[in-house]
Amino acid sequence: MTDLRVGIGSLKLKNPVMTASGTAGYGAELAEFFDPSLLGALVMKGISLEPWQGNPPPRITETPCGMINSIGLQNVGLEMFLREKLPFARQWDVPVIANILGTSADEYVRLAAELDGAGVEGIELNVSCPNIKKGGISFGRDMAVFARLVGAVRKTVKSAALIVKLTPDAPVAEFARAAEESGADAVSLINSIPAMAIDVNTRRPLVKNVIGGLSGPAVKPIAVRMVYQASRAVRVPVIGMGGITEGRDAVEFMLAGAHAVAVGTAIFSDPMAPLKILDGIRAYMENHGIKRVSAITGSVRT
């Protein structure tokens, strides 16, 4: 019998597979395909204080083994989330992790306070958002601003596990360490990588916003490297993601140092992907006589 349980701070997961923020909505659509209770956790689409419109279309384009998105963090806003989306997700026996977005530290703190009070099991800070006070450079790329942000949210969050999602266009080991020192219960990575594609015939960028985020199998080797570096820099658990499409990919992230994994873009090609990946992890453990999934974490032989 395989033991798939993992702990992410106070958060106890029945298995290490979660959805990646922004790739599974608030759970309802996936529930048309499978029972979300089968997953380790459901990570919700990023939430801001007020509803965000998002960017105009086209918002997505395919690239070699990947895709660029510029959804622009469209979301229903905190109030609607608390009123409709969270209660709906509560019907499943699965921990809910809210992913939050702000344009100032104050916004993050208010979001975290409200959500912690509403009883989500985890709060994931998306620090790739532009920091309006700092001229638009993201929270995740300015070390001092980043550490202050994590510290401030830490003070607010009492019950939920606090997860900090690192930006891949900054040195991850250093930022992982800063997140840990500022009180994060876990770090997650990678977010999508800033990228661009141009239609040579129209000469226009293939996403209207010009630059978007690259995700999917193409980024996997970069993500595995970053998870390896981050996990060696900190003692808190690491949640790995970026291009996971098969059980084998998930195992690769765990070998590199991830305690749990999230599945994003793969859901777009197959809504059942998270479950198939979980099956793949289980099969790998059986083939290799591994009893506890946590034994895989960090066991790459370098």
């Binding site: 499978f34 918002r59 997505i60 395919e62 809504p271 479950l275 198939k276 099956d279």
Partner: protein
């Protein structure tokens, strides 16, 4: 140990290729027999289609439900890029993956809700198809009992598809070509505009599918009805928010809230 995925129900299915018929240089009809029985499909719905499980091309591609024939679900596809080029190489017996039927489809135009949906028998259905948007409205024609007036446009006469069949299925057919090589010179929406001149727009219900420019023109005709969006999609099931269609109430999802929208609901700029 029991596999988690076997517990679940979904409309993801492997499908066997039954036929892959070339209409002309760049248009084909692909017949598929899904391994699992699929509900529906209804006109205006679509499938996410995957040629194989290789990671490049990565994403599935959306194709409308075209029709059922010989026990196969058919899609009409036009070769415009990578997946559609690979599709031309499919041979009978090969296996592909489809997810669907997805999306809302056109309203129930002949059933009990027909009046409420503005499809009363008293109205003449105007159907506008731009290019391969034809695939979307094709299954409407049969359902509309041969009463529809179809406006179908292509860039040039040689590209017009299935014309004899369309005439059989429609009350009247107006062909349009941008270069004037066949039928009306201009777009299908322009042809419809000319037709409507002097007529009472309340006597008609509109159904349109084609590129965004055409949907915009169709929406401006002043006739009530529906347009079907073909916005780019990543997931097709409502989770990625990639297929944004602008509406008065903010961005909606073509795949889940559409692809069919009431005229006036979807805004085009």
């Amino acid at each position: 140990m029991k596999s988690a995925s076997s517990d679940t129900s979904s409309i993801l299915s492997r499908a066997a290729v039954k036929s892959n018929i070339k209409l002309n240089a760049s248009n084909f009809i692909l017949g598929l027999v899904p391994e699992r029985a699929l509900p529906g499909p209804r006109p205006g719905q679509f499938f996410m289609f995957g040629i194989d499980s290789r990671k490049d091309p990565l994403l599935r591609r959306p194709f409308c439900y075209f029709r059922k024939e010989d026990g196969a679900i058919q899609i009409l596809y036009r070769v415009v890029g990578r997946v559609t080029t690979l599709m031309t190489g499919l041979r009978a017996g090969e296996t592909v993956e489809i997810l669907g039927p997805l999306g809302n489809g056109y309203p129930d135009f002949l059933g009990s809700k027909a009046e409420e949906a503005g499809n009363g028998k008293g109205k003449t259905p105007l159907v506008i198809a731009g290019g391969v948007g034809l695939a979307s409205v094709y299954p409407l024609l049969a359902g509309l009992d041969g009463r529809a007036h179809l406006f179908y446009g292509e860039r040039t006469g040689a590209s017009l598809l299935l014309v004899d069949e369309l005439r059989r299925l429609s009350g009247q057919v107006t062909l349009a070509t941008e270069d004037g090589s066949a039928g009306f010179k201009g777009t299908a929406a322009e042809a419809a505009k000319v037709f409507l001149k002097g007529r009472d727009k309340k006597d008609f219900t509109l159904y349109a599918c084609g590129p965004n420019g055409m949907l915009k023109a169709a929406s401006a005709l002043g006739v009530d009805g529906y347009i079907a969006s073909e916005e780019k999609m990543a997931c097709g099931v409502g989770v990625c928010l990639g297929c944004a269609v602008k509406t008065a109430g903010g961005f909606k999802r073509a795949c889940k809230d559409g692809p069919v929208f009431k005229i006036g609901e979807a805004l085009f700029d």
